[in-house]
């Protein structure tokens, strides 16, 4: 038989060792977990618009995926919906918030891009990333209303899209 005092000391050493091991294995190096990322952004382009002199509305309807610009009575060459490419190491859900409108400028004038959320993917429902760094694309669209007899010029600008990784 082992004396009771000696047995208690051995058991105490074991308890401390196990606890320290647990802390080492499960206490994270930092308080933050890794989130997904946007690793590619493709600009939104309305292309070259041979505008009808009475004006027109140019639309990129990307709610169901990549889309080209369309018009009612002008000729549009080139252009494309914007695109975000997202990925994550683990399964994540991403909520996306688009701006309501964005100004772009050219030659001292301003054009307003509107209806962005209405014409972009995953508005209001978000998108699920499968993890394993598998890329998921998000298409972005919008609309420009042009008045008649616009001067020839190039417009440019940028918008901020908010992403919430859960």
């Amino acid at each position: 038989m082992i004396p009771s005092q000696r047995r208690t000391s051995v058991q105490r050493v074991k308890i401390i060792s196990f606890t320290l091991l647990t802390l080492f294995c499960f206490f994270p190096a930092s308080n933050d977990l890794e989130a997904g990322e946007v690793y590619q952004v493709t600009p939104l382009s309305f292309g070259s618009i041979d505008l009808n002199p009475s004006g027109d509305t140019i639309l990129i309807a990307a709610k169901n995926g990549a889309a080209s610009p369309t018009s009612f009575q002008s000729v549009v060459t080139g252009g494309n919906s914007g695109q975000l490419t997202l990925r994550s190491t683990t399964v994540e859900h991403v909520d996306i918030v688009y701006p309501s409108s964005v100004p772009i400028s050219g030659g001292g004038d301003i054009l307003l891009i509107t209806h962005i959320a209405d014409n972009s993917q995953y508005t209001g429902v978000g998108v699920d990333l499968p993890g394993g760094n598998i890329p998921v694309t998000v298409s972005v669209g919008g609309q420009i209303k042009l008045k008649g007899n616009e001067d020839n010029r190039t417009f440019s600008g940028s918008m901020t899209i908010n992403l919430f990784f859960n």
Partner: protein, 191 residues
């Protein structure tokens, strides 16, 4: 006794582990910037292809009215023949032609053209001779394509649309010989 201690230790270790995992869960947020571009161009070209020319007029000594009636010339790109000046009286006219405006655009850019001509009595034509006699080019809209008289001109992109322009000048009996010239502004409204 040994078995009891081990079980107690195992349960405590797992509980501690679970607590740490819960404390480490966070949601991440971020913004991304996307560039935007658009280029506005127009392929519409308006050209005064031919000036209005009443020709060389050997004027009736009693005076005369010289008219170019281009209202009936088709406003299309089919190269319809220009209208020629006609005298009411005994004047003899050589040469002359209705004016011509040509509108082009890229295929697919289709629109209507509402032509607005100067009002009657507003276009002066003045001779270069001593004394500088001035006469008036009149009845332009009634003798031209489009406008209120002949209606809107329809344009189809990819083919030229021609708008023929005419008018009328009354030369008095004492109109001096010489070259008469002037200019007018015609407005094209697109819709």
């Amino acid at each position: 006794m040994n078995k009891t201690w081990k079980k107690g230790t195992l349960v405590a270790g797992l509980a501690l582990t679970g607590f740490l995992v819960m404390q480490g869960s966070t949601a991440m947020a971020g913004d991304v910037t996307m560039n935007i571009d658009a280029a506005i161009t127009t392929s519409i070209v308006e050209t005064v292809t031919t000036d209005l020319d009443l020709g060389s007029i050997d004027l009736d000594p009693a005076g005369d009215t010289i008219t170019i009636d281009a209202g009936g010339v088709a406003a299309s790109g089919d190269g319809g023949a220009a209208a020629l000046p006609v005298a009411t009286g005994a004047s003899v006219i050589t040469g002359g032609t209705s004016g011509l405006i040509t509108v082009t655009s890229a295929a697919g850019v289709n629109f209507d053209i509402d032509v607005v001509y100067p009002g009657d009595g507003t276009v002066n034509v003045t001779s270069d001779a001593t004394g500088a006699t001035t006469v008036t080019l009149d009845s332009i809209e009634g003798n031209s394509g489009g406008g209120a008289t002949n209606g809107t001109v329809n344009h189809t992109g990819g083919a030229p649309t021609e708008i023929h322009v005419g008018g009328q000048v009354v030369f008095p009996s004492d109109a001096e010989a010489g070259t008469y010239s002037g200019s007018m502004t015609i407005t094209l409204n697109y819709s």
